[in-house]
């Protein structure tokens, strides 16, 4: 096209402004994901600077640099970024394994590997950002809106696939893309915005459809997942390496395992290191299990466990810390955090045996462990999103102002959470930072909230901690046999002590939780194994080395609290909270307002398309009496009356005088009189106040007459 060389930014019309705004929205949604990544695992300030730099550079270069050169610049930025990112990776990772990891991760993207699981995700965000931002903005400024949309849209698509972009984010991106393409075409064709109503109507239809059709199949989509995250168990022990905070949730009584063990303990499924503000991510890879694993550094006792799988699961729980898989080791992998993973799933009837070395260091030993944390621990387990509100740290500072050791700090926080928050499964998922919300806004929550908040509080004090999930010991049915059900799933905290290892703390109040489990078990038709509630003292949540003080028999409190979940069918639990629906009742969020406005604009454009707005405007115009000086009132009154007359008969032709017209349509006397006043006001320039009053009166009769007839 001959317009290729013309620089369109020299002439800026509303269509161009809208196209560029569309690109900005689309790019903004992708960048919001990257900024979130940087917030969780990097430096959001640095990323903002990089984004700003790329925008400024592309704006300037768009004037001087041709498209191929710009593509080379963008490619160069990506290559440089990738190399820089590889340099930031830990020394141990060789180039080949890096490429291997890269390929594996790329495939994993399809299935929803979060960007946050990437090693050094913050650096990764910094590295990949400038290239696409530069190219997108360059193309937008040059008026190549479709190409620009493709570049920015690809970036957003990656985040949609990784699951990092929520539905609302994606929807904004889609609207941005549609705006850019639709108005970009108008700009290219030099079309007027009068043709834009279809674009607006379609965009509004997209939003409406996504918000209505799209939300309902949140369930439909989930039917293809292993488990819907509507139970505590599903949300905690899915095979994913991420946990998203959920709202109201229920307990499943299905039996998962039978464990024969020397001693009761929590059975760990997985631990999570990276806190995203509204969930958890496990970073780092896995390696095949190849013989025994190293035990904790501190004093330990050995626990021999034998697990029999009772219903299909994709996890491999074991007492902390597993050192040997003596049976069923085939295919087992070990995560960097030291937990076991079957790499696949177990069927009912499968079994495995694990030897664990359980840390039993004394409180005193833990008190004297000090703060000499290894670098690898500091780097990974002190991470907090940069956006974590300061008041979390301040509150924790005050709470722990009297403690001297990390052990005491952890004990104080654990006790404070147990004593000051109510246990409830029926909570609204908070928007924003979960720990902050639980600490300051929510009165109640369940284990995930307690544990998350405690990890965050510890990290604000410089104490390495992580979230552990798995099952409590379960129901003791025999000498050393435990029945573990879905409702035993649990989340707690592991705190690191130098030269000792990871120590369990559990900030969830144990009694209400067990009561909840019991009430769930007693619901009719829910128990598929002989309940022996009397013997549930095995579900102790006492942490080794700490004295929980809580009674270890759940029966004493069982039955007193009401079941919070009205559901009676485990397969039909609470609705999952809609993805992206962060807000409860209250003021609508800005994004909802924006989408509402778009829907409104779509409605208006649609009405305009079918001519309703013009008619409505005319109706209002007729009813509003003309104002201003008398001559304006007279001419205004006549124009309105003539419009009414024309609606009944025909329009006045161009060149036809008022008198000819009124004769031709056989107007009544009142209209003729109005015509006289009009001609005098218009052509002789004479109109008195009384003329104006008469004209308005005559118009009133016309309008009234119209509705009588």
């Amino acid at each position: 096209m001959s317009t290729g060389d013309r620089l369109p930014f020299l002439t800026v019309g509303p269509d161009r402004v809208l196209s560029i705004a569309g690109i900005a929205v689309l790019l903004g949604t992708a960048l919001s994901v990257l900024l979130h990544v940087a917030d969780v695992a990097g430096d959001p300030q640095a990323l903002l600077l990089v984004i700003l730099g790329a925008l400024v550079a592309s704006t300037l270069l768009a004037r001087y640099v041709s498209a191929p050169v710009a593509a080379l610049v963008a490619g160069g930025l990506i290559v440089v970024g990738a190399n820089w990112y590889f340099l930031t990776l830990p020394e141990g990772i060789g180039v080949l394994s890096r490429v291997d990891v890269l390929l594996r991760d790329s495939l994993a993207l399809l299935s929803g590997l979060s960007v946050l699981q990437i090693t050094n995700a913050g650096a990764w965000a910094l590295a990949i950002t400038p290239g696409p931002v530069f190219l997108t903005w360059y193309l937008a400024i040059r008026g190549r809106y479709v190409l620009s949309t493709v570049v920015a849209g690809s970036l957003l698509t990656v985040f949609v696939l990784t699951g990092d972009a929520e539905t609302m984010t994606a929807l904004f991106g889609v609207v941005g893309a549609g705006t850019a393409v639709g108005f970009g075409d108008l700009a290219r064709r030099d079309g007027s915005l009068g043709e834009a109503d279809i674009v607006v109507v379609v965009l509004a239809a997209m939003v409406a459809a996504t918000l209505t059709v799209g939300v309902i199949p949140a369930g439909a989509g989930h039917t293809f997942e292993f488990t819907g995250p509507s139970t505590v168990e599903a949300s905690l022990t899915s095979t994913d390496d991420q946990i998203e905070m959920q709202g109201a949730i229920s307990l499943s009584p299905a039996v998962r395992f039978t464990v024969v063990s020397d001693a009761p303990d929590n059975w760990v499924v997985k631990t999570y290191d990276r806190y995203t503000g509204d969930g958890w991510i496990r970073t780092g890879g896995t390696r095949a299990y190849g013989g025994s694993l190293s035990p904790p550094a501190g004093r330990t006792r050995t626990i021999e466990q034998s697990f029999r799988v009772e219903s299909p699961v994709g996890t491999m729980p074991a007492a902390w810390r597993p050192t040997e898989v003596s049976r069923g080791a085939a295919g087992t992998v070990v995560t960097e955090q030291g937990t076991l993973d079957p790499r696949g799933s177990f069927d009912a009837g499968d079994s495995y045996a694990v030897t664990s070395e359980n840390l039993i260091s004394s409180d005193q030993a833990l008190r004297t462990a000090g703060r000499d944390y290894p670098a690898r621990i500091r780097e990974r387990y002190l991470q907090l999103p940069a956006s974590t509100p300061r008041r979390v740290a301040e509150r924790t500072d005050r709470l722990t102002s009297t403690t001297d050791t990390p052990f005491d700090t952890a004990t104080v926080i654990e006790r404070w959470l147990r004593n000051n928050k109510q246990y409830s499964l029926d909570v609204d998922r908070p928007s924003g930072n979960t720990a902050d919300a639980f600490l300051f806004e929510m009165g109640a929550g369940y284990c995930t909230y307690y544990a998350t908040t405690m990890v965050v509080m510890l990290r604000t004090q410089g104490i390495p901690a992580r979230l552990a999930v798995g099952y409590t010991s379960g129901e003791l049915v025999d000498d050393n046999r435990y029945v573990v059900r879905g409702l035993n799933s649990h989340a707690w905290v592991q705190v690191y002590f130098p030269d000792e290892g990871w120590v369990r703390f559990d900030p969830t109040p144990p009694d209400p939780r067990r009561a909840e489990e019991q009430s769930r078990l007693r619901e009719p038709g829910e128990v598929d194994a002989t309940p022996d509630v009397a013997g549930t003292n095995g579900t102790t949540t006492g942490t080794p080395g700490t004295v929980t003080g809580a009674g270890s028999n759940g029966t004493s409190v069982a039955g007193s609290p009401p079941a919070p979940t009205p559901t009676t069918n485990a397969s039909d639990p609470f609705d999952t909270p809609a993805a992206g629906d962060g807000g409860g009742p209250g003021l609508p969020s800005p994004d909802r307002v924006a989408l509402g406005l778009l829907l409104l604009a779509g409605g208006v454009a649609g009405l305009r398309r079918v001519g309703v707005t013009t008619r409505v405007y005319r109706e209002l115009w007729i009813r509003r009496p003309p104002d201003g000086p008398p001559s304006h009132q007279v001419t205004g009154a006549y124009e309105r009356a003539e419009y009414l007359q024309a609606a009944r008969t025909r329009d006045r032709r161009t060149g036809e005088t008022v008198r000819q017209y009124l004769d031709a349509v056989d107007a009544d006397d009142r209209l003729r009189r109005l015509g006289e006043l009009y001609e005098r006001a218009r052509y002789a320039g004479r109109a008195s106040r009384s003329d104006a009053a008469e004209a308005i009166d005559l118009l009133g009769q016309q309008v009234g007459g119209r509705f009588r007839g």
Binding site: G194, G221, E225
Partner: protein, 320 residues
């Protein structure tokens, strides 16, 4: 109606998104799939409902070989469309004969008139799309038009003209003077009256004289090249006389025009010469002609009753 490249890309995106979503969970793919689906359906419906755009061609101004003219097509379309016009043989578009409009619009471009003849414009190809350009429908608009490319004309100020006119110094009685209008030959300007007139140039008009006309006959032997030469030479000679206010009658193998002056006559004469394929005339017609143009593939000779000139001589002299 077919998906465009853009439409294909969106279809692939929606399908792939659906597959990935069904295989690995919905995530935010709903927003992409549902919106994309809405876009595709809306685009298809919009285009399917839209009627064909209406194209109205304005008759282009004819011109001589070597001139250029403007082609204009008015477009009325309920949906965005792209109109590409085609120019026939003997014409060359000087600008891309393409326009994209969001609805109503106009395609205007310039063509160079290169070869004598009645030249074709069209048919235009109309590609209508939906508002997002996801689907396209291609129609060939049936209406075409022609533009006349008149033969090239060279100025003749050689002896032929002066002698021919010189023999008739009394070319009708002086009738009256009137104001000069653009298009009047300078020859007719009455300089003495003009000098006295406050309105500027004044043109003399003469009463028509039956005898005062030129009978022009033209023949060619050979192919198109000979016909082209004949047309150019004949047009040049005829226009010289017409410019001088002398009525010209023309006889060629394709037809005969009675002696006339005026704009309409000029146009008819040029139209005839534009279409001529050359050929012989009866000897009788040739004999009675005041001026006879005889063209071959190589040369053109012009006889004015007493002498023969080559066309080249007349024009070379003119330019010299």
């Amino acid at each position: 109606m077919k998906p465009t490249r853009r439409g294909h890309a969106l279809i692939v995106l929606v399908l792939a998104g659906g597959l990935v979503g069904f295989a690995f969970g919905a995530r935010a793919l709903n927003a992409v799939i549902v919106s994309g689906g809405v876009g595709l359906v809306a685009g298809a419906v919009q285009l399917a409902r839209a009627g064909e755009p209406e194209l109205e061609r304005r008759a282009p101004e004819p011109g001589h070989e070597g001139d250029s003219t403007t082609v204009e097509i008015d477009i009325e379309s309920p949906v965005p469309c792209r109109v590409v016009d085609r120019v026939g043989e003997g014409l060359t578009a000087l600008e891309e004969p393409v326009v994209e409009t969001s609805g109503d619009g106009q395609l205007a471009y310039t063509v160079a008139l290169e070869r004598r003849g009645e030249r074709r414009l069209g048919r235009a190809t109309v590609v209508t799309t939906d508002s997002f350009g996801l689907f396209a429908r291609e129609d060939v608009h049936p209406v075409e038009t022609t533009v006349d490319v008149y033969p090239a004309v060279f100025g003749i100020t050689g002896t032929l003209g002066t002698e021919q006119l010189g023999e008739r110094p009394e070319r009708g009685a002086f009738d009256r003077v009137r104001e000069y209008q653009p298009g009047d030959p300078l020859r007719n300007v009455h300089w003495t009256s003009s000098a006295k007139s406050p309105d500027g140039l004044v043109v003399a008009e003469y009463t028509a004289d039956q005898d005062d006309l030129v009978r022009l006959a033209a023949v060619s032997t050979g192919g198109t090249a000979a016909a082209d030469r004949m047309a150019t030479a004949t047009a040049s000679v005829a226009l010289m006389f017409l410019d001088a206010g002398v009525p010209v009658a023309l006889a060629i193998s394709d037809g005969i025009l009675p002696a006339q002056t005026g704009r309409e006559h000029r146009r008819e004469l040029l139209r005839l010469l534009t279409r001529t394929t050359g050929g012989e005339l009866p000897a009788q017609t040739k004999r009675s002609a005041d001026v006879l143009v005889q063209a071959t593939e190589r040369s053109v000779e012009i006889h004015d009753g007493r002498r023969s000139h080559t066309f080249q001589d007349l024009t070379v002299e003119a330019s010299g």
